[in-house]
Subunit: 333 residues, 4 copies
């Protein structure tokens, strides 16, 4: 008899990945999966890759979810707070939305609109001290997918004083699942295959989260939509302070981490190598011409960028092995 | 202490998938992985998705492989026999190549050239009686990827007498990993993305294997190269005999199978739903205009079509649970 | 001062391709482009590839369109008849929809529903006698994209008596633009990339058109959705009659055709080679095992399968050079 | 009787695109196309998209090429100088390689190795004064594809004094055809589909060319390989000087240019919109958080980034209309 978990918002891509991970998890029992408009539909109709999972989507309400020991919320931004308030106090929650990530209410209101719901423990265990904080929490705000990719690349460099926080420039490309599962013309296969484009150029709502998590003071972050279903590749550049090589800092920061890998010299991250896993691959160099630090970071936006990261947090919160039910290895090619 | 297994030919795509599955298998220990030209290279350089697996490729010889309890051979066609002859008698073998699949030596020689190496137990557990035969064997010839896809769709219909074996027409499309990892201009991303083409049109070497496994007497099989890394979708058509609906026959044949799923009516197979899994998805209908039976079959050519299927056979041969280390669920989107 | 043409339904993919071809056509002047919900929007916003074309979408009505010498209708099936009835009698029309393709009203009603609108000259100039018929017509029904691909492969073989019309089996894969530009979850890039699936399996509405155009008596046609924006690859198989090689028949049929190419022996069609062109590439063989004729046919579903074909018909109707404004060559890779 | 042109290095992707453009050009006659190892092969075998072009590849030597009025060189870097020296003095040349782009011999030697061959007129007509210089030249060095994309975005801003040349950061993603047509495992479809990765990170050989063409003093340029055949998307960021909006500068610079388009406000460049064309699409903003200028630039690496750009230069050199044989419009979707 395992630990009872439920997923709210199970019809989207992050929700589907959560179901897959929970179904293969040795210590978690999936007791409910809910969806707004598709309640009553078998999971395998909504997610054909889960054919063989005998479960029907329920309604997203406290009655359906409240019986679990831990609930994952994979809802559209802005909907977590209301549902969380209805769940019994003893139910642990990992929220994959943005609602509880920011400490600064004014920034929340400027970038997302609406009232700030509050601040939960930030769900990135690889940040210093954060693993213990997650273990002690009943409420965890999972990172955004861009934030995870960029923070793992940048936070140790700023913390170590080798990267200037005043001038960070990032371009990060995401597969289309990062844009969600809503029917939109600009996300049709005909439009995205063979195409690259930026979006929310110059004003992405994840910038405050990334600054908060990395310690950056100024951050230009340009997101690019790439013609592939999964994966984020971030190129993070910063002006160096001193002469410590950024690779050494990253190696020291992640030497004992099971899921964050600084690649051997000469090998650069490939998003495809992380698909389906909870791994993040990193490499760093100093640019020959400009002298800027360049860190490249790759992960699966639905894996370490969303669902797998959420399971890692849940494992820590539940006191079970942190790597349980998660894969270090990607599915490639 | 698990069962000791080794992989020969570990630098290719099927080899890499074998390593991934073995690394996550609860009862198998990977003791050696070998490759011809890349001996001495760390596995994670050849397969970046296996970053975190601390193993270096060895030489493909009996000294390196002979210490294992079971060896997977993922070698180019024609190379398995020589190596198998050198391995100690007590070592079990699953061969992913074509060398030992055919019973008819003359057909082997016509389609593959060279001398016929012999015939091993055919590694498709879902065929009637085959699970027991595999369990009793030390040498198993894994199915080809097209053969697995088509046989699962067709064999029960011919066996049940509802499909005419004299006039089978198949068109089957494969992702590019089915064409292997050799550097060829026609397999460059620039050439295959956005493109569909047939190959070996009218004379594919897998036809004798498919006829042998399905009981078809006449088989037109046209393979298509599709712009995706993984997956095979086969459209199998046959003239019906009698009025039994083909779907009923397939449901009866696979009711107790963990990895072969006849989808609910109205749902048709998607290759993406099987990526990374050992599952095969099937659906069948009778064509309105022609009256022909149409069965559509989807699987992952590196999964149920190669490496995962090989692990399933190994599990049976080793007397451990048949589903150990294998996933029913695909990684999608 | 060129011939005045207009496009109704210009916001879809076929409509966009028509605009591109007309903009580059030496003898046609684009005087209006209309769209239902996007009237008032600049063309280059709806079709960014047409940036530089200074035109705003108008309303789809006779007032906007009636001033042209020739109107292309690229409307959803079922909407052409009403609009055509409102256009002045002297305006020539090429309809890219299905409304006027079928001769048999009963078949129309069974496959499409609603009342049959009538029958116009069938717009495939390469069929015997059809070029003259198109030249003499003011109303032409352009072929469907699957119908063009399959008819060019099959019609000469049936006409020559070398393929048995009683048992045609076709599997044809299309890029996603063939499914249109409506926002649907199953057409999202995240869903289609890396995926193959059949659709309308066993009952596609284009079967009656293909039978009418090819002379087939029985036709099993399974359509597959392929992960690429453009292109159709059809594998057409038939039982042979006599010993004439199908390639000879096709070569004779198309020896003088500018846009239909029987490839040199040993070369097989690639859809990518036809993208952006009005060409169809063909190759044929006799299957070693089954003895069936296999013809493979490739074209661009928006080119020879829709917009370029429509321009070819318009050129013929207008008495200008048939190849004007059309490319034989594809844009590849 | 048109102007006689020839293409050396016609078997690669840029060579194939040159042939396509020349075949459709109203004033150019293709008299020879040559290739090193594939001399003697019909063009349509090497480039199936050119089926219908009746021409056989010749040997890459002065005898085959010297009879033309203008020769395009699409050779591997380092091979143009030797061939150019053998061509008769009256033959105009456009070199698509890097050999003659740099003015600084020391930089050439550091980034490319070998001796510097010299400096030809730089083939980017949209740079101030460059159109006239090209018109007066018999020898033109076509831009590199990254250089074209980035220079069109950046040069006017530095020239106008609104972007600080001391701190330019660029991330630019290219389709796979930019990596050429050599058979390499890392360029296989199986490897690149579904994947993003950087390459030559921190030390790309095009940096000196870009600095020379843009006036940048310090340039960090990270190239990314994207899963699509064609297209480059560059995100160019710079610290602003003063308050002039970068969009205004770009609009002024390109107001009269036929092929460089500053998109309407709110519309951002898509590479797919430029495929097959000679167009470059630009948009600019000022980043909300960092205040950096962000310019996004998209073009077809084989179009405005190589072959179409070369034809534009040739048109200017030959005194024929600059837009002859070139398309403003892309082939999309």
């Amino acid at each position: 008899m395992g630990i009872r978990v439920a997923v709210a918002g199970a019809s989207g891509y992050a929700g589907g990945e959560l179901l897959r991970l929970i179904a293969g998890h040795p210590e978690l029992d999936l007791v409910a999966a809910t969806a707004h408009t598709q309640a009553g539909t078998p999971v395998s109709v909504v997610h054909p890759q889960l054919t063989g999972l005998d479960l029907t989507l329920g309604a997203t309400d406290a009655a359906t979810l409240g019986d679990a020991d831990l609930v994952f919320l994979a809802l559209p931004h802005g909907q977590s707070a209301a549902l969380a308030a209805q769940l019994p106090g003893g139910v642990k929650i990992v929220d994959l939305g943005a609602d509880f990530r920011l400490r600064d209410a004014a920034l929340w209101e400027r970038y997302y609109g609406g009232a700030h719901a509050g601040t939960w423990t930030y769900g990135l265990p690889e940040l210093p001290g954060q693993r213990a904080a997650i273990a002690a929490s009943d409420r965890v705000a999972n990172t955004g997918c861009y934030a995870a990719t960029i923070t793992l690349a940048l936070a140790p460099l700023i913390a170590a004083g080798v990267a200037d926080p005043a001038d960070i420039v990032v371009v990060a490309s995401s597969g289309t699942s990062g844009a969600g599962r809503s029917a939109k013309v600009n996300l049709l296969g005909s439009e995205v295959m063979g195409d690259l484009s930026t979006y929310k150029t110059g004003a992405h709502q994840h910038v405050p989260e990334i600054k908060q998590a990395t310690g950056a003071d100024s951050l230009s972050m340009t997101p690019v939509l790439a013609p592939m279903p999964r994966g984020i590749l971030a190129t993070v550049t910063a002006r160096p302070i001193g002469r410590t090589h950024p690779r050494e800092v990253l190696q020291a920061a992640y030497a004992d981490e099971p899921f964050v890998h600084v690649l051997p010299e000469g090998q650069w991250p490939h998003t495809a190598a992380t698909v389906g896993s909870n791994s993040c691959h990193l490499q760093a160099t100093v640019d020959v011409d400009s002298g800027r630090i360049i860190v490249v970071s790759a992960l699966d936006n639905l894996g370490k960028g969303a669902a797998a990261q959420a399971v890692q947090c849940a494992n820590i919160m539940l006191g079970i092995p942190e790597t349980a039910g998660l894969s270090v290895f990607g599915v490639a090619p």
